[in-house]
Symmetry: D2
Subunit: 365 residues, 4 copies
């Protein structure tokens, strides 16, 4: 209720601040008997880790995860899994002067009005650093879903600033710091270098998808699979828009085009993005999100101080010039957490359902 | 958990099917002592009502709401408010042949796989008719928020199919069946007439906003105000995308542009759409949604039947050629429900918070 | 959150007041495909119905249940089941003078302080009449649990006032208005007749049990099966105590006696009441509850009025001299609702669990 | 949903096992701006700590609490407070042989059937050691409630085995290891010494109360204050019964006696235990719980092994011969957590309520 828990049956409770001693999460509801060790989780954390290229923040955090509970002799026990990630590279002095001034685009103003006080060190609780425990929890969900249903998750960047990124192949995504599905990312590197020199920042558009999702996940009316996806994606820092399938393009589509026809061998298209009536069709889940430009920039901005007087803000410190660059594994993790939640729900209420009609999405894949 | 309840502190539980005896909802958590009668609710229901122009479904439903509980001597008692809306114009025979075939773009396929059976009468539970109780509940939330904080809600259509709708004035919205903020809607009428003749359907883009929202609503990390808005909007039938503030346009903005500067007299812009760090700034909440084309069209579509064999589908019956036309009051209601929930939450945890910093958004308005 | 919903996966939302037009509930999460009609529910409602003997309130309510939604062609669809029970025999004038005075033992004082106003007609929302929808919902749960697991629920009165009721046979329970497991209830009738003449009321002790409960239901640490049972039982009007298994008698037991030994053919005793570590053993669930004397009595009581001045209260109207008399089917229903909730939860998280160890409780039964 | 979180607005998520590296909890929803340091919490943990007398387990745990998050410059920030308690004195070898055998009265049998595997080290997740984080969380709730409303919590033992403990004074409770409200506890010491020699264990009865509780806390119908208290108390290991106010004694009371009369100067008695209609009256909350005898005893017991074959069990290791001895601070903490939750809820929905009627309970105290 106070907003730090995602999910109910696979409930992930997140804690910590950017510059506190540690961040982490508690996963309650992971099915028992699954093999799980730190290495299973670390791989995704490493994909999100800061300090790995000149295009992201230079804060050096190993983000080493520790399993504190819930695993016995290498297997999950069905009881809460606490994951702890120590903060090791805090430099709070970098942020010294922001306590009295509200940085435009940041949560400073709203946190102060909501809570009456705020932890200004690195953004405190509002820092994107708090996505790390979600990536860790997502890795647990991914593992279970893969072992149980063969579900896989992928993501890539499709736009950075005003640069459209053509889709060449999923194979390229792991080979560049942008998660771009293209072989030669020099255009992106040049763009980012120029942006940094200008003391400015930019937004990005990220695509994530899940393949091998069981048909039938999602609840009408409100806990629709796509509604929960939108909720989870908007929970990622800096996200300002979410699309499922054709998204905003569906506005100018006609019904004769948009509605995905069905053949005995599978769906004829996927404008739905894998969800009809809030329930998964078994096709790929297709999600796209908009990430706003980083608010922490060294260019001076007009603002006010805590007494309401005019003040100029320049944000120094170590920041990502495009927070979207590291957002792909985060969005994948959030998608995995939503699918996991609904996979468990589906078993609760509909475990006995048997249908004669073939699962046409699965046939094709 | 099974998806029919929205909210926790102001919890709205929705029930009913398109062609059952009645639909309705139970509101649990409405503060006591507010004057409330059916007329307070009926006004918004009438804005959403079918059969009011040639551009929407001809199903004739008065959608008369009845307060079954929770009000004593004209005042809310703080106990559950049950609202009942009788279905009066069911023609289930119109839908007779869709039981064996899956309509493309509809929930037929997913409901059958999820539940093993489905109510095919008018879409059963997946019908957009189930938004009526939410409009009713939203009217209750709107009333409380207006009396308590002066909060108001407005919405309009900004695009239908590929026709962009220029914003002229809020005053026009109530004067045409499209909720279009323009004086002369003949271009929209012509477009819709041609579409109907073609036996096709189209999508729409709707904008909704709330003014006079208190600063401080919304919870980090997950129950962010914008995350809950996205969740609620995706819960509306046919919605495929949600934007807050600048939305997808923020991808190509620069940080120097996007971050809304602050002056002692107020924010300098509203790219944030009224939410920073998941918490309301006190500025207008600005939300935009994409609605897909109606799936029920009379043009023949390729599909399969429940045994998996090829089949052609033509959907007769009474349908909206653009479900977006009646979506504005629905989206307003969903937004009101989210703001209401967070207004109550804010009181729970932060009732004692006092801040010296002025509320600059409220100063301006 | 506002207290009118019981359960999460099998969520029952209750609405209505004693003297409003109707009471009812919405069940969200009932698995699809189960045959269900009004008669399945009416039987239990009739067991709880008022006006059936001289020992209970003479209010004459048929308590006829109507299924408003969630059932199609005689089968549950997996969507919300709304059950409606009309109030037909309100005599609000009977309660005219209690608006200004607080009846001792009643919720008048607390409702006024909580809500600032209250519906005094028959106790409004605090009336035991609101248990009727729970009996209806419980009947749905009982039916599913019986068909799925063979689970059955029984209950009886074990004490009324200071009269201990010896257990002779379950067969007698249906043959007297007290739900007493004894053949000759004349001692109880004499006791009640004397009590009524004295213008007084008394408490009762009720025992309920469930047989054929699957092993493994209940969650550590907090949503223990017995914790949820205690929660549900305390949710029944007038309940002041709950025991599981040996209950308070376990205080003076020794460990050598209390701990139920295990044999290959089953447990050797059931001091645990069917729950160990918060999880069902598969043995009978054994629950006992204490119900306080009815607060509505015609003997004069000292009280104050709403201005804080001394006042004498005499409660006329139609009241049960022992609310415990009709409590047995209510307690059974609440127990069934808890078992149902946990049966669904168990499937969500532990559907894949397989154990070599035999289910010794089931062997025996 | 998986049972490790207590509360919604003041939500405490518990994690860890008896012999893992650490146990702890995350508190989400603590209001901001309260001074909080480890010492505020440690005092209650020390009252519950093992190894402090010969009558409790000799496991030597300092139970030193560490605040990992949610506090900045000595004040709560309104974001999650993670509390960590390291386990330092595990001797898992003591428990070596219990993996293959089910200890009577323990959760071994049920955990295995629920999860398919179990952590046998010290009872794993089912150990009473997991109450330590709740005592820590309860200390935070107590502090806030005291500062805000002056609410205080007390508890004592009222019976151990078959020895009734007379109430002499609250002052004695802190001066003996039993939390007994009597000056000379030699009778209790003798009783316990004999019990240990006999290799047996016994139960206990604990009374807890809260004074200075605001009027109006608790929700009808289900989230009644007393229902939540019963739920929380049954969540404590080994509890088999819960009473509110007169409890089971109310069965043989008459209505003329039980219903607490009201005078302008206060209630005339407290059979209600501070709750009417599920809502606090402002009087002392009075709760009594039954704790079963410790299941871990060295006397041999009949049982079966995991293959279902007969087996004899003797439980060595370090155990409390009466788990009730250390239960008083645990029960106080659980009561404080429930009151805290409802205090926040009350503000959410009823913050605006004003009543002319005097708060008679508060007048007296």
């Amino acid at each position: 209720m106070a907003g730090s828990t995602l999910g109910n049956l696979f409930a992930v409770t997140n804690f910590g601040e950017s510059h506190g001693p540690a961040i982490g999460c508690v996963i309650d509801g992971c099915p028992p008997g699954m093999l799980l060790c730190e290495a299973d989780i670390q791989a995704d954390l490493d994909r999100r880790r800061p300090g790995t290229s000149r295009h992201v923040t230079q804060r050096n955090e190993p983000d080493a995860v520790e399993i504190v509970s819930g695993v016995y002799q290498g297997k999950t026990t069905g009881t809460p899994i606490c994951l702890l990630i120590k903060n090791t590279d805090q430099r709070s002095k970098d942020y010294g002067n922001i306590l009295e001034t509200f940085r435009p685009g940041h949560a400073d103003y709203t946190y102060l009005h909501k809570y009456g006080l705020r932890d200004p060190r690195g953004g405190g609780r509002s820092s994107a650093r708090l996505t790390a425990p979600m990536v860790a929890a997502g890795a647990v969900a991914k593992k279970w879903l893969f072992e149980k249903y063969g579900t896989t998750f992928r993501g890539c960047m499709t736009q950075i600033g005003d640069v459209q990124i053509p889709f060449e192949s999923w194979d390229h995504v792991a080979n560049n710091p942008f998660f771009a599905p293209m072989a030669d990312v020099s255009v992106l590197e040049d763009f980012m270098d120029a942006l940094r020199k200008a003391g400015d920042s930019c937004g990005a558009r990220i695509r994530v998808m899940a393949s091998g999702v069981p048909v039938g996940l999602g609840e009408p009316l409100f806990d629709k699979l796509d509604a929960d996806i939108a909720f989870a994606m908007m929970g990622i820092n800096a996200v300002k828009g979410v699309e499922i399938g054709a998204g905003f393009a569906s506005v100018s589509q006609r019904g004769t085009t948009h509605g995905d026809g069905l053949l005995p061998t599978g769906f004829m298209s996927n404008n739905a993005g894998g969800v009809l009536g809030g329930i998964s069709t078994g096709q790929d889940l297709e999600v796209s999100i908009a990430i706003k430009p980083t608010s922490s920039i060294i260019s001076p901005r007009q603002s006010i101080d805590t007494s309401g007087q005019p003040s100029e803000v320049i944000t120094k410190g170590r920041h990502d010039p495009c927070v979207g660059i590291r957002a792909t594994p985060i969005a994948e993790a959030m998608l995995a957490l939503v699918v996991m939640e609904h996979a468990l729900r589906q078993r609760a209420q509909n475990a006995d359902v048997q249908v004669a009609t073939p699962d046409i999405a699965r046939q094709r894949s």
